[in-house]
Amino acid sequence: MLDFFDVFLVQQLLNGLAQGLVYALIAIGFTLIFGVLNVVNFAHGEIYMLGAFAGLLAIQLLAPPAFAVLLLVAAAGLVLGVLLERVAFRPFRRFNDEASLKSKALREATLLSSLAISIITRELMQLYVGADMQSIPQAYLLMTPIQLGPLSIASGQVLIFVTALLMFLLLQWLLFRTRLGLSIRAVSNNRLGALHVGINVNHIIIATFAIGSLMGAVSGIVVGLYSGNIFPQMGFSPGIKAFVAMVMGGLDSIPGAVISAIVLGLCEALSTDFVSQGWSELISYGLLLITLLYFPRGLFGKKVERV
């Protein structure tokens, strides 16, 4: 099979896949939170960044085995998610009537407050640790190449692949096989209805934030372990890409977001064959605009009856 393809091309595709999965990891949590609250959580990229830093801190202080680092980061993400919800989202959920649920002003206020929180977090981190890249200790780096015939894959890429798959499957299990998942889906479908059937909407929203942020934080440290350097601005660009993937996937479809994220990663990797690195950024924005114009419901969004 490989004879048909240029080895370089396949290698490029693999790298693109890994990059796309990085976006997918962030997009999963992003989409989960959007699905429940119907507002964009701009601070998700910062959770991702903080997750990476929490991992670094854990490594520097305790030097635990790699698996324990992941667990610690997951716990940190959980706490951060609850905190974020408390600070930036709860104050705007004082009212539960239909008018304020549909109110544009409240939704925009939430969007802006998460944006403000994300700026504050990023700047504080920058002041505290400096804008420079922090490097992960060599022992934890996952850069060991694995040879597959003529191809080589870094072990970090394997980890990214495994994490993305695990997270995706776990989330699907959680959403469709557990009671909590049922409540989350109920709240995301109709918050008032969920309230009426006796679901504690506040708890469910907090739980969603905790789960989504846990995923964001874990993806941060996984990417940090793979790329080897973490810095306060690291959440911004992948955050935007994940955002693009979410919109392309149809805003509330997690599988759609994952597929779109992989498509984005592949397109970016392939485009570097033709244009320089800088221009490849343009590809995803172009794709975003095309999706918005021709598939306003996203590529995998729910079909909505048109009036």
């Binding site: 939704r107 944006l115 403000a116 994300s118 700047e123 002041l127 955002f243 343009l282 605009l289 918005l292």
Partner: protein, 304 residues
């Protein structure tokens, strides 16, 4: 009255050495006022305003440094280029609402930034364009006066637009698009008109920026600038024109006054924005009170 206060303030600044600061405040005032028209009055959340500002700045910078066009030609041309891009954006996104429109403008903003950064042959990439001629060769005071003149003109245009029946139509567009369509107005047309006007003024502001700093680089037109502009509008109160100007003054002058803080600029911006959203969601001068002032003013004029 507010205009008079602004004038007095500028007169005071005029006397001091703060020309650069004053023109920066004016440029951001224009940006915030135009973003207020788009986001505050017409309710189209734009996350890419810096792109139109950047297009204006680059148009005038390139035309004046490469082709030696006079500022009186490049100023309107910068506005027109930005307005064209804005109109195109609005035409493309005319059916998108809420968060979709915000995402689309974010995408366009980033696309413009990436283009400015990477089209090295044309825009000189990250090095930026240096040696832009000043507005006029006369004293800096006259240059500042010219900037003030353009600012006032734009302010008047915006004021007449926002506080008119047309402005009310835009407010209706913000509240309920279907309702506007049912009243016999074309929402798509309104959106395009608003974007054209708003982006024209943003382009003008960009040109003024290029002439007053005499140096432009892509870094000035990043996503964070769009956010800063949005924060100015939020601080002043969404939909309130004097509020937008106040917000711009606050967010340009405060970091300068606290110069010793240095790197804290974005932190200050973020914290102020968060504080206002949390505790003063109507902004410094809310839309309602701003409208009331203008309307009572009009009534007084009618009676006299």
């Amino acid at each position: 009255m507010l205009l008079a206060v602004l004038w007095l303030l500028l007169g005071w600044l005029d006397a001091s050495y703060l020309y650069r600061l004053a023109s920066m405040a004016l440029v951001f005032g224009l940006l915030a006022a135009s973003a207020n028209l788009i986001t505050g009055v017409a309710g189209m959340m734009t996350l890419g305003h810096a792109a139109f500002y950047g297009v204006g700045a680059y148009t005038s910078a390139l035309l004046s440094s490469q082709y030696q066009f006079s500022p009186w030609l490049t100023l309107p041309l910068a506005g027109v280029t930005a307005a064209l891009l804005g109109g195109l954006t609005a035409w493309l996104t005319r059916r998108l609402v809420n968060v979709h429109f915000a995402v689309a403008t974010l995408g366009i903003g980033q696309a413009v930034y990436v283009t400015l950064l990477n089209w090295v042959d044309f825009t000189r990439g990250p090095m930026g364009i240096t040696d832009i001629a000043p507005l006029s060769t006369a004293s800096p005071a006259i240059n500042l006066g010219l900037v003030m003149l353009v600012f006032l003109l734009c302010y008047l245009v915006l004021e007449r637009t926002v506080h008119s029946y047309y402005g009310n139509a835009l407010r209706a567009l913000r509240e309920d698009e279907q309702c506007v369509a049912a009243m016999g107005l074309d929402p798509a047309k309104l959106k395009i008109q608003v974007m054209v006007l708003g982006c024209f003024i943003a382009g003008l502001a960009g040109a003024l920026w290029a002439y007053s700093t005499r140096y432009v680089s892509p870094g000035d037109f990043r996503f964070s600038e769009s956010i800063t502009i949005l924060a100015m509008v939020v601080i002043g109160g969404l939909g309130s024109l004097p509020g937008a100007i106040m917000g711009a003054l606050l967010l340009t002058l405060l970091p300068e006054l606290l110069r010793s803080l240095g790197d804290y600029r974005m932190l200050v911006v973020g914290s102020i924005m968060f504080g206002f959203i949390m505790f003063l969601p109507k902004g410094l001068i809310g839309e309602y009170s701003a409208l009331r002032v203008f309307r009572s003013h009009l009534k007084a004029l009618e009676q006299s």
